[in-house]
């Protein structure tokens, strides 16, 4: 049984937020009206979080793409009174939209604030409804939604592999955010397969998990920025 995980190399991330929009289009995440956005009610399964430290001009800003971290020990699923959220055997923290009663306890229990609530009925004005992805249900109002690691893509990849009579190979299943990253800063795969790219990167000394001292054991692993170590003087031969 694979254990799906993601590695985000913060060194390579350009903070362009392509992953954010890719996620939105893939998963039928509605855009909210500006007045709603002002209340912070933007629904984003994946968000780039800025963190600024220091004072001008000695100042640094970290920009960190933050999807649901799919914790192995998720605080959110314990608190759901109706079991609308849970963790699949493959480690994906999922949400049953049709069962959720909208109490928002999970949103409050998540230390990463990565669960979103449908304050209103999702709105796709005019022809925008045409762009909806049939693989993903549009959530009704009043329920909590979150990153599913593009679970529909996993189902499709499995079907395809089964049809071709082979096992799921690395790269068959990749979430939309990872797929689009222009700087190739995101990796995805099976953390339990010791030979996979992500497992290798997860063993890197640069690897860390966000707020890992909370014991949530996230399966989204970050690589610290690192520094330029000084280049070589010799120019590359043409």
């Amino acid at each position: 049984m694979p254990r799906w995980g993601m590695v985000v190399d913060l060194t390579k991330c350009t903070a362009c937020q392509a992953c954010v929009v890719a996620c939105q289009t893939e998963n039928n995440v509605p855009c909210v009206e500006p007045e709603q956005a002002a209340l912070g009610r933007i629904i984003s399964w994946l968000k780039v979080l800025p963190e600024i430290k220091g004072a001008y001009p000695r100042i640094s800003m970290q920009l960190m793409p933050l999807p649901c971290l799919h914790c192995d020990s998720p605080p959110c699923i314990r608190v759901c009174p109706v079991g609308a959220t849970g963790i699949t055997p493959e480690g994906v923290v999922r949400q049953i939209f049709a069962r959720c009663i909208g109490c928002r306890y999970c949103t409050n229990a998540c230390p990463y604030t990565r669960r979103m609530f449908n304050w209103y009925k999702p709105n796709f004005p005019g022809e925008l409804q045409q762009a909806l992805n049939p693989d993903v249900t549009v959530r009704p109002k009043g329920v909590v939604e979150k990153c599913t690691l593009c679970h529909h893509r996993l189902m499709q990849a499995k079907e395809r592999a089964r049809a071709e009579g082979r096992a799921l190979a690395e790269g068959d299943y990749v979430p939309a955010c990872v797929e689009i990253c222009p700087a190739n800063a995101m990796y995805f795969g099976d953390l339990d397969d010791p030979d996979s790219k992500v497992a290798g990167l997860a063993r890197s000394p640069r690897a860390f998990r966000y707020l890992e001292d909370l014991g949530t054991e996230p399966k989204v692993i970050y690589l610290t920025e690192g520094e330029w170590a000084g280049g070589k003087e010799k120019p590359r031969q043409p």
Binding site: Q36, A38, L39, G40, R41, I42, L49, P50, E51, L66, P75, R78, V79, C80, P81, V82, G83, A84, R99, C100, I101, G102, C103, R104, Y105, T107, N108, A109, P111, Y112, T113, M116, F117, N118, W119, Y120, K121, P140, K141, G142, V143, V144, L211, L214
Partner: protein, 466 residues
């Protein structure tokens, strides 16, 4: 004032005044009721509006997912401790002064619980699916524990309200008047026989014992809804007792207010005496000190631990955006009540009522200051969105308050708000019992016939039975 034949109430003697509210209703009652129902209607409209459009009509946002409703939930559940817990403890302790106040307290409990539960239902994004709680229960969730303990509490306190009500219902049945059929049904054939009395006493005693742990569990579980998460300034071990103390604190305060109103409106000065207010005032003072102790301990631990995530929330309460609320809470929960209650001279009816109002305001602020600041400063950097309620939330909150008062008023119109039979019983047997009891532990040789002590000076809580 309408006058109608209501059978013969003369037999009740001086206690007839206790039935008076049921017998006659002044037009001011209807005016007030209409006004209150106006709020109810408005709240209902607000709720329909919220159902129609979604929770977006509230001021809730990301990351402040909980606001007024959950604050109200904690607050109402807190108030519910007024009744049952206080009355059960007083009963078990044989505190004789309890006789005229237990009913008023128990009614608060039962009624206010509905609003506690209602607050949660109103807060749900999908109230239509709330039965999923029974269909797909997840017993890991503190919210489910809440569902269990609150329903147990509701059941237990309803029984606990109902049992001592039976003899009084029988009185109303027997003396004729309106709704005799209704009373007959509820009286369960009470005739006041010795066996019935004995059974009732036993039942009340059992319920009194049973209801205390349930009541404590209810508010502990409510606190665990917060305490079980890892969120800064929610994740605290002392939340259980802290919430229970706060609950009893606000419960006593609401009881004092209710008593003062009843006393004033229904002319029951001889039943709800200054001494009741003095005693409850002392109790309130004790809880004010206890509350302060817990608040201080809780905040000092956070401050001293210096966990950065906790400190952010800590400072947002003490010096930041929520400082007015926080310090307002300290003033209303501690400074004002202690100032009033610590002196016997000001621990009058007016004084205790003033202190109680202040406590109620303060306890609501306290609940708010627990729920919202933590949410508004999550661990991950987040936008500076602040929570302020919309008309929907304010409307529903006011509506809940008004409906509660209305239902309370309605109760007094159907049932005696001061337990007639217990008062009578007290008058008949209490003196003797108390004298016996005191004698039983008085040092020295057994006393001669007759009481050496008179009822009324008894204030100490006795723990041993007869």
């Amino acid at each position: 004032m309408e006058k109608k034949s209501h059978g013969n109430l003369e037999a009740l003697g001086p206690d007839a005044v206790l039935v008076q509210p049921i017998v006659a209703t002044r037009s001011s009652f209807y005016h007030l009721a209409l006004a209150l129902l106006g709020f109810t209607t408005f709240a209902f409209f607000a709720w329909l509006h919220q159902l129609r459009w979604g929770l977006g009509t509230t001021g809730l946002n990301v990351p402040v997912y909980w606001g007024f409703y959950i604050t109200n939930f904690v607050f109402f559940i807190g108030i519910s401790h007024a009744g049952t817990l206080i009355s059960a403890i007083l009963r078990l302790c044989h505190a004789e002064w309890r006789r005229s106040i237990t009913r008023a307290a128990e009614v608060i409990t039962v009624l206010v619980l509905f609003f506690g539960v209602g607050s949660v239902i109103v807060d749900l994004g999908r109230p239509d699916r709330m039965l999923n709680v029974l269909k797909h229960p997840n017993f890991h969730s503190p919210l489910l524990w809440d569902v269990c303990s609150v329903s147990a509490y509701l059941l237990a306190s309803s029984i606990y309200l109902y049992l001592p009500l039976i003899p009084d219902i029988a009185i109303l049945r027997d003396y004729g008047g309106k709704y005799t059929r209704f009373y007959r049904l509820l009286a369960l054939g009470w005739q006041g026989t010795k066996r019935q009395r004995h059974l009732l006493d036993r039942a009340i005693a059992v319920m009194a014992v049973l209801v205390i742990p349930i009541a404590i569990s209810v508010h502990t579980v409510v606190s665990w809804v917060f305490g079980m998460t890892v969120q800064p300034m929610w994740h605290s071990t002392i939340f259980g007792p802290y919430f229970v103390v706060g609950a009893i604190f606000s419960g006593i305060a609401s009881l004092i207010i209710a008593m003062a109103l009843i006393r004033r409106i229904y002319y029951l000065q001889h039943y709800l005496k200054a001494v009741h207010f003095d005693n409850l005032g002392t109790l309130l003072l004790v809880f004010a000190l206890l509350w302060f102790y817990f608040t201080f301990a809780e905040h000092l631990t956070t401050f001293y631990g210096r966990d950065p995530a906790h400190l952010v929330v800590f400072y947002s309460k003490l010096t930041g955006r929520y400082a007015p609320l926080f310090w307002g809470m300290v003033v209303t929960c501690f400074v004002i009540p202690v100032g009033i209650l610590c002196r016997r001279r000001t621990r009058t009816v007016t004084g205790t009522v003033a202190a109680s109002i202040s406590v109620l305001v303060g306890m609501w602020l306290e609940r708010f200051a627990i729920v919202v600041p933590t949410l508004s400063r999550p661990r991950v950097p987040w936008s500076k969105v602040f929570y302020s309620p919309t008309w929907v939330e304010i409307g529903i909150t006011l509506g809940f308050g008004a409906t509660f008062i209305f239902l309370y008023m309605l109760f007094t119109k159907f049932f005696p708000i001061v337990s007639i039979w217990e008062v009578q019983e007290g008058r008949e047997v209490a003196l003797e019992e108390v004298a016996k009891r005191i004698d039983s532990y008085m040092p020295g040789p057994p006393a001669v016939e007759g009481a050496r002590f008179t009822a009324g000076t008894e204030g100490a809580l006795q723990l041993e039975g007869e």
